[in-house]
């Protein structure tokens, strides 16, 4: 509804402005551009919704708003926009060139060339014969006889047989197609275009001779064709080489230089009769060869950035379609369009048989050759300028034929891609792998089985994604009744109320669980990655179990994952899964999110298994960390430890590029907002206030797992110092510390728990008024939100933390724009939440001062800071985080003009 409303508003503005003030006005091209981008995009989206090509939507939009119908994009506006056509074709072809792997096609080049030539020859011959036979019935020319008719029929057939690689490549891009058929179609459509240009040059000269316009000039014929083909390729290659050189030597202002290059290729190539499609393609191929591995990144970035160019190109094409011609020559146009379709199909069949294309490849290739556009219109212009009589009438007919092909061609080709199952998106399904399961089944005291969702933002976000996408979630079973509800494959459909995906459980022996989870993961990796002065312990037995369990996860995924699924691996427990999985299912795309910090190289060297862990992580396609700092550390480690090459955010390990990115996780903002909107919140706050005796107090809050990285003793000591400094606060201040028991089986955790108990007891004894309310339990999110809302300030004093979601949840809960967040600069969240009071938990004086400042902070400052903090937290929630990772994982290489 929002999109439709925006569409109506945009069109209304444009109509009001253009109708009131006229089109020939300064700024009309900017307005046309804006309308084309906004409205065509929305219409394209509607078409996508109907499983039709988006570019057909752009074309239809252009057609309906163009001079032929509504005239909102007037003739002069369309003319202004058309100036960008050559430029757009160069950009589209350039991206296709970056994508085309000629080395892959080299062994088959001759057979593909033969296929293309034969297809063109058969289709042309058939068209020429039919046209010659029916010439007198066509609305083209009267009174032509003998050779004149043969020449005209031959030339018309050459125009008719032409194709539009631009449209075909655009359909591939917008449908996110990839696969052998897609590659084949791309190569064939380009080769066919080359063959058509040659054929047209030959036929033009021949027709001149036969029609008696001029004697056949063989050298000129050869030169003209050669110039268009080799000149376009050479010019494009030269520009590509210069651009590649610029990338290597300077590498600055690349967007502008790329735009300038495209403008130059289009601007200089036009007057010289060079083909912008061929030039752009050659430039792309040369750049790909020149910059090697960086080409992937460039291709990806250019493809994403080129989307406005595509939308504009097709909207403009639609606006310049003259369908009114159909009224006068409609029957002939429909006849020619159908005839072309039939004969191209026959041509591809014959071509495939002769060239030896396999039965799986050939049958649908004709659909890639259906679209006609720029090239066809260009050829008709040449014919019209050559033959003022029938040539001009041919132009009218061809405009109508092109309009028909434009509308039908993309739809047919997209259907072919779908039939070949090469269209990207959701078809592959999603597999999530995590240590914790999203739904736990447990026995209730009465013996019944109850399912409850696992708390936590990450679990909720991934669960939401799975509900939307469907697929399989593989996780370690931890519930008492988990085994009772699964089928023979160990699976259960969840969520229980509206099953949307399958939860595949796997069981570990107590020893495996002990060594893999408590041992290697939390006694080794956790302290290694957190600089909190706890010595990591790496036992060989734990390492063996870690490998064993990771292999078990990988084998399960290998069995469960649908073809070409995307696999999301969650966290440091699963560092080796991708490596084992790749050996079994190399076509699966995997991403791993590492929630905790990544250590610098010196600290990493503590781990005797670092190389294996790095290799395991580099077996993913995408590796995501919380912060750019972690990303940098990892890239450095890949270079130092494995000698891998890096370029930007890509590590080249073996022959594969692995993208390493930083995508900070966010809070579950929507859920917290829901809780805030719940009428029960006030009652819950009151209840909490009563239970903890907080009435009339100045309240501080801290919520943490009982973990040595969280800086809880430092926090309690700071509260103690604040009270000592300001005795007046002793009866007034109540600090609520929630300590969630965690990993009790891991040494170090019991110790920190005891230390906190002692400290709290000591402070409460010292002041007599029990200023610290310590609850050693977990709270449900609604209770946490109530607690956050009661507090004047919240403290996150981690000694080292990947992100710390408590900080973001505190902010998300404060829609009253009150409350102060005191945040450790050693928590990842501090990189985003700059408006918090940033402290160093080791700086005793600074920490105490921050607490006192939070207590004394005026309301207007609290409001200003919280307002800014909320903007940051709302702008990046947990669902956006999960979607971002999947979007980056699933973006096909080199494709994505329209896929994002």
């Amino acid at each position: 509804v929002r999109r439709l409303l925006a569409l109506v508003l945009t069109m209304s503005v444009a109509w009001l402005v253009v109708a009131r003030l006229g089109a020939d006005h300064p700024g009309s091209s900017a307005l046309a551009l804006g309308v084309a981008l906004l409205a065509a995009s929305i219409v394209g989206w509607l078409f996508g919704f109907l499983q039709l090509p988006k570019i057909t939507g752009y074309l239809i939009f252009g057609l309906l708003c163009g001079p032929s119908f509504a005239n909102i994009i007037t003739q002069s506006m369309a003319r202004d926009l058309q100036l960008t056509n050559g430029f757009a074709i160069v950009i589209i072809a350039f991206v296709a060139g970056l994508q085309l792997d000629v080395i892959k096609f080299r062994p088959r080049l001759i057979s593909l060339a033969a296929f293309s030539v034969i297809t063109v020859a058969v289709a042309w011959l058939g068209l020429a014969v039919v046209l010659w036979g029916l010439w007198d019935w066509l609305p083209l020319a009267d009174g032509m006889t003998g050779l004149e008719t043969v020449a005209a029929a031959g030339l018309t057939a050459a125009v008719l047989v032409s194709v539009s690689p631009t449209v075909t490549i655009a359909v591939i891009a917008e449908s996110r197609a990839q696969g052998p058929f897609t590659d084949l179609a791309t190569a064939v459509v380009v080769l066919v275009e080359l063959a058509v240009i040659l054929l047209f040059a030959v036929m033009l000269q021949a027709s001149r001779g036969m029609a008696g316009v001029a004697p056949p000039d063989q050298p000129a014929l050869a030169a003209a064709a050669l110039w268009t083909l080799t000149g376009s390729v050479a010019f494009g290659a030269l520009m590509g080489a210069l651009f590649g050189l610029y990338l290597r030597l300077v590498g600055r202002e690349i967007t502008l230089v790329l735009l300038a290059m495209a403008a130059l290729v289009a601007g200089i190539g036009g007057p010289l009769e060079l083909d912008p499609m061929l030039s752009g393609l050659a430039a792309g191929l040369v750049v790909r060869a020149a910059i090697g591995s960086t080409g992937d990144v460039l291709r990806d970035a250019v493809a994403r950035g080129a989307r406005p160019v595509l939308v504009l190109f097709f909207a403009t094409l639609g606006a310049s379609m003259h369908v009114e011609a159909l009224a006068s020559v409609g029957v002939a146009a429909v006849f020619l369009a159908v005839l072309r379709l039939l004969l191209v199909r026959v041509g591809t069949d014959v071509g495939a048989r002769v060239a030896g294309l396999t039965a799986t490849e050939a049958p649908l290739l004709w659909r890639a050759l259906m679209s006609t556009a720029d090239v066809t219109l260009m050829l008709t212009v040449i014919v019209a300028s050559e033959y003022a009589g029938w040539g001009v009438r041919l132009q009218t007919v061809m405009v109508a034929v092109v309009a028909l092909h434009e509308l039908v061609g993309p739809i047919l080709f997209r259907a072919a891609l779908a039939e070949k199952k090469e269209i990207g998106g959701k078809s592959g399904g999603l597999v999530v792998v995590s240590n914790r399961e999203p739904w736990v089944h447990e026995y209730a005291p009465d013996g019944s089985i109850r399912a409850r969702p696992t708390p936590g933002g990450v679990s909720v976000a991934l669960d939401a994604l799975m509900r939307d996408r469907g697929g399989v979630w593989v996780a370690h079973a931890a519930g008492s009744a988990d085994r009772a509800v699964v089928d023979e494959r160990g699976s259960v459909e969840v969520p229980p109320d509206a099953p949307a995906y399958r939860l595949r459980r796997l069981w570990l022996s107590p020893e495996q669980e002990e060594r893999y989870y408590a041992g290697f993961s939390n006694t080794g990796l956790w302290p290694l990655c957190h600089q909190a002065h706890v010595r990591p312990v790496f036992r060989a037995e734990d390492w063996d179990a870690y490998q064993q369990v990771n292999r078990l996860f990988a084998e399960t995924v290998a069995i469960e994952a649908p073809p070409e699924a995307s696999v999301f691996l969650n966290d440091y427990h699963l560092a080796l899964v991708a490596k084992y999985l790749r050996a079994r299912r190399p076509l699966l795309r995997t991403a791993l999110f590492w929630h905790i910090p990544w250590p610098d190289t010196d600290r990493l060297r503590i781990c005797p298994f670092r190389k294996e862990i790095l290799e395991g992580l580099l077996s993913n396609d995408l590796l995501a960390f919380q912060l750019p700092r972690d990303q940098r550390n990892f890239l450095q480690a890949a270079v130092d430890e494995l000698g891998a090459a890096t370029s930007g955010d890509v590590v080249y390990f073996g022959d594969r590029p692995v993208r390493v990115v930083a995508i900070p996780i966010g809070a579950d903002f929507d859920r917290i907002s829901e809780i805030l909107g719940d009428e029960a919140l006030a009652a819950r706050m009151q209840q909490m206030s009563n239970e903890l005796h907080l009435e009339g107090k100045l309240i501080g809050v801290g919520v943490d797992r009982l973990d040595y990285t969280k800086g809880i003793p430092e926090r309690i000591a700071a509260i103690d110092r604040a009270l000592a400094e300001r005795p007046d606060l002793a009866g007034q201040l109540a600090f609520v510390q929630i300590g969630v028991p965690s990993r009790g089986e891991v040494p170090g955790y019991a110790q920190i728990s005891q230390e906190i108990d002692d400290l709290v007891a000591e402070v409460n004894r010292k002041y007599g008024t029990s200023p610290i309310r310590y609850l050693k339990q977990s709270l449900e999110m609604p209770d946490l939100v109530a607690l956050y809302r009661l507090a004047r300030f919240g403290i996150v004093s981690s000694l080292h933390d990947g992100m710390n979601l408590v900080a973001k949840e505190f902010v998300a809960a404060r829609d009253d724009l009150d409350g102060v967040l005191i945040l450790s600069e050693l928590a990842g969240a501090a990189q985003e939440l700059e408006e918090a009071l940033i402290i160093n938990p080791y700086d005793e004086r600074g920490f105490t001062a921050a607490i006192l400042r939070a207590i004394d902070m005026p309301a207007w400052e609290r409001r200003r800071r919280m307002q800014a903090l909320r903007r940051r937290v709302a702008g990046r929630d947990v669902l956006a985080w999960a979607s971002d990772i999947l979007e980056r994982l699933e973006r096909p290489k080199g494709l994505g003009f329209l896929s994002g």
Binding site: G34, L38, R248, R872, L898
Partner: protein, 403 residues
């Protein structure tokens, strides 16, 4: 670590080029080493680096019709569309800054407007006096040209110090962000002076930018947050900005004002549209603003009148900024930030005119008669480059190093 260079570029032109950022540092080469050595900051140890105006205005002049001719008059005509969109982008950026500050820190807006008002008054008065004395052939009424020059002179970009380097710099940056609001609004007055004023003209000139901006804001608010992908969102953002610029050009009003209204709408409307726009603008802002500067440089014509007109611009702007800075510092000292910034420091922060001065001049060029527009643009472009250089070379010494 956040470096000053990176931050200045972010503020002025939206950070590094999006493709540069994706591809990372180019591999080491002799040329790259030469470029690195040429960086003024690292080579000479000056506090700030070269600002975009210093680099791209001369580059535009070099590529323009008067020197190499790569950017011919036809190409420059075609680039008009880029200028229009870039103006609305800059308007949106100011609008977003205004929307964020206006609720919490309106005294800051008052201080900033006071500063820009003083600068406009001093420069306009000085330029009018100079024009009356010299009878320069300006191609348009002297009063209009003087006011236009004053409006161009009032823009500040605070590029001489890192915003996070000290509280004074942070405050200076916020003042610089907000002191563009008054001139953008005041452009409407100049437009009234330029036209035969019928009641319809007055209403169109005053109301149309607000209505157009609000409608563009509403369109953006409806769809930006609902975009299916980042790529689609960029199309929406770019489309909305082009509609803003195109509508403004059609109606003969300022794209800056339409953009400012849309920017404010996005900030004040519920949701996170302003953050989305700000993030996505970074993807288009850089090439657009660089093209804007290059276009302005290419349109620079060193006529005798433009060179004479430079004198009141330089002198009066310096005086106006010092006086305005002093007044503004006093207001700030009494109100929201006592003792944070001295008058001299604030004037120093506000001295670089930045991209927005050039944008104002290009906006006027779209509306003034050809000769007058060229004179104004040439004067402002040259003046901007001089003030930016002055800020790079002199101000760090004037202010000394922050404690």
């Amino acid at each position: 670590m956040k470096g000053p260079t990176r931050d200045l570029r972010r503020r002025e032109i939206g950070g590094p080029d999006p493709l540069d950022r994706r591809l990372g540092e180019p591999p080491p080469s002799p040329f790259a080493r030469v470029l690195a050595a040429l960086r003024v900051r690292s080579a000479l140890g000056l506090a700030p680096s070269l600002t975009p105006a210093i680099i791209f205005l001369p580059l535009g002049a070099l590529l323009g019709p008067l020197v190499l001719g790569v950017l011919s008059p036809i190409v420059l005509d075609r680039l008009e569309i880029v200028v229009t969109i870039a103006l609305s982008v800059l308007g949106v950026l100011v609008g977003v800054a205004l929307g964020r500050e206006v609720r919490g820190s309106w005294p800051l807006l008052v201080a900033a407007s006071l500063e820009s008002g003083v600068t406009i008054a001093v420069v306009a008065a000085g330029a009018a006096y100079f024009a009356a004395q010299t009878q320069l052939p300006l191609g348009a009424p002297a009063a209009v040209m003087a006011l236009a020059l004053g409006l161009c002179a009032s823009a500040s970009s605070a590029t001489s110090a890192h915003p996070d380097s000290e509280p004074a710099a942070e405050l200076g940056t916020r003042v610089a962000d907000l002191d563009d609001v008054l001139p953008i609004v005041a452009v409407a007055v100049v437009l009234l002076l330029l036209r035969p004023t019928s009641a319809f003209d007055v209403s169109v000139t005053l109301v149309a930018p607000l209505v157009a901006g609000a409608i563009v804001g509403l369109i953006g608010w409806l769809i930006f947050e609902r975009a299916e992908s980042a790529a689609e969102r960029v199309v929406f953002v770019l489309g909305a900005l082009a509609v803003a610029g195109g509508t403004a050009a059609h109606l003969g009003v300022s794209p800056l004002m339409v953009g400012l209204t849309a920017g404010m709408f996005w900030t004040l409307a519920p949701g996170r549209t302003d953050r989305i726009v700000q993030d996505d603008l970074r993807k288009v802002q850089h090439p657009l603003v660089v093209l804007l500067l290059i276009t302005a440089g290419a349109r620079w014509v060193p006529s005798l009148v433009a060179i004479w007109w430079l004198a009141p611009y330089l002198i009066c702007r310096l005086a106006g900024k010092v006086a305005g800075g002093w007044l503004s510092a006093r207001v700030l000292g009494r109100g929201i930030a006592p003792g944070t910034v001295s008058a001299a420091d604030l004037a120093a922060f506000l001295m670089p005119p930045g991209v927005l001065a050039v944008a104002f001049a290009l906006n006027f060029q779209q509306m003034l008669p050809d000769d007058a527009g060229t004179i104004l643009l040439s004067t402002v472009a040259a003046g901007t480059a001089i003030f930016e250089l002055f800020s790079v070379l002199v101000l760090p010494r004037w202010r000394g190093r922050p404690a």
